[in-house]
């Protein structure tokens, strides 16, 4: 019972970006995944990437309102890593190799689909941001992501007043949206 409570607390912490919770999950699971990946034809960097991807998937799941984890955290992470790695192997190599590993797994296909969709969106956003150019990008990031007030931003960026900065910010946002949705349409 106690371990269940702990797991719930850990997931809550993860959802809130609590470094302590993330550290515990990281420490408890990384070595298992590392030896799994290395035993299955992967490198250290592969292990790190796959493992972090799995944590992000768990993070996204923990944040969703309908969240319910039906198994232990380590089973979930292992299952995700296994699926991710299998997929990666199929991409680079057409030979079907049996994968070695004896840990319990659960069905994670649905979560992975959601995660992949999100990853695609993030990639699109990153590309849009990268092609936005300065100072637009910094302005957008500072206001919408870092939530810095318009007054402070106006001073930082050297606008004569907050209203001018605001107008500029909106112009930038419109451009960013165009860049983003343009990809969306191509993507579909």
């Amino acid at each position: 019972m106690k371990s269940e409570v702990n797991e719930q607390a850990l997931l809550k912490g993860l959802a809130e970006n609590d470094t302590k919770a993330i550290k515990i999950i990281y420490k408890d699971n990384f070595n298992t995944i590392l030896s799994f990946i290395i035993n299955n034809n992967g490198s250290y960097d592969d292990a790190r990437d796959i493992f972090q991807e799995a944590i992000i998937t768990l993070y996204e799941k923990a944040q969703s309102e309908s969240f319910a984890l039906t198994c232990k955290i380590n089973t979930y992470i292992y299952s995700i890593c296994r699926r991710l790695w299998l997929k990666r192997l199929h991409q680079v190599d057409k030979f079907n190799k049996p994968i070695n590993g004896f840990e319990d797994t659960i069905q994670v296909e649905e979560d992975m689909e959601i995660h992949e969709k999100r990853n695609m969106d993030f990639a699109m956003m990153e590309r849009a941001m990268n092609s936005l150019g300065e100072p637009c990008r910094s302005l957008i990031e500072s206001f919408y992501i870092k939530k810095i007030s318009m007054q402070t931003l106006a001073k930082q960026f050297g606008y004569t007043n907050a209203d001018n900065a605001k107008t500029q910010k909106y112009k930038c946002l419109i451009r960013l949206k165009k860049l983003f949705f343009a990809q969306y349409n191509i993507g579909e």
Binding site: N17, T19, I22, K23, Y26, K27, F30, N31, L34, S35, I38, N39, N41, S43, Y44, A47, R48, Q52, I55, I56, Y59, R118, D121, F122, M125, E126, M129, I140, E141, Y144, I145, K166, T167, Y170, K171, L173, I174, K177, F180, F181
Partner: protein, 368 residues
Amino acid sequence: MMDDIQLIQTIERYLEGKMLPEEKAFFELQRKNVPEIDQMVVEHNMFIHQMEDFAANQKLKHQLQEIHNKFLQEGFIGDGTQELTAKTKLIYLWNKYRRVTAIAAVVGGAMALMISGLIAFFAPANKQAIQQLGQEVERLKQGQRYQGNKINEVVSKMPKDAEVRGGGSGFLIDGKGYIVTNAHILKGASFANVYNDGKEYKTKIVYVDAAKDLAVLKIDDKDFIPVKSLPYSIVKHSVELGEEIFTLGYPRSEIVYNVGYISAKTGYAGDTLSCQIQMSANPGNSGGPLLNKHGEVVGVISTKERQADGVTFAITSKYIYKLIDDVKKADTAYQRIKLPTYSSIKSTDRVNQIKKIEDCVFLIKAYN
């Protein structure tokens, strides 16, 4: 453009809940009536969330990388080296270099075939392919220690500064103390001692025939009790193909029994002096007797082909007769050597044959 900006501004205020109640009611009415505005609100809301999620994702990635590096520094997680235990490392390396290995193996195989073909075509018979069965000096030193323990009450008869040159086996051909062994065992040695049943005997090197790779030693020790009659005979006729044979020798400090059969009537590269036998012989078996099932000596174990395991060569016993003839011609002091011509163990079983024979087989150590 200006309208767009104003619209976004309005939408943002609406989404952030900064509108006054009347303004909000008015805007919501507009949303209902103008689908374009409604669409823009939805789109903007989604986009803002998209940006926030993106930011959260970036932040988490950053956080994970920091944790990873910190843990790595502090040694809480594997750095990839300790994860590779011997087995997994092998798997890992094998998987990693499998293709390269396969190509290398194919190329190597082809090269090897080609080169061996060329060598076989051009090169003269390679004498180096024959490994002489002389016991390695290191092993003998070990054996000597063991032997030393075994004969603890007997003080070694060797001068203290003597160094082991080589060793092998030998056997009596005359009960008075004449022993036949391989010449290569004595190579570079000035004298040799022989051992049997924990006893050590000094010998004199009587004759060495390097061409035949045979040598005669004479036990020259007051502790030696001459054997009245040897249990085995030494045959003059040649060996028969497929004949079952056995040997006793000292591949280690203890006497070892081995069995096999005559696999060819000639030796390495058609050498008529010797015959080929199928038997696993080890260094140290060199100089040991090769006997047939009647307990008759048919040869002297001599050399072993390097590449093929289980292939051994023996000098046929008729050359022992020739050797003794040579000895007699060279030195008149040895006229009385008489080779045994009658085997008294013809109809006894193998265990009892061995019991009789083992008293006549000696471990030989050559010193300089």
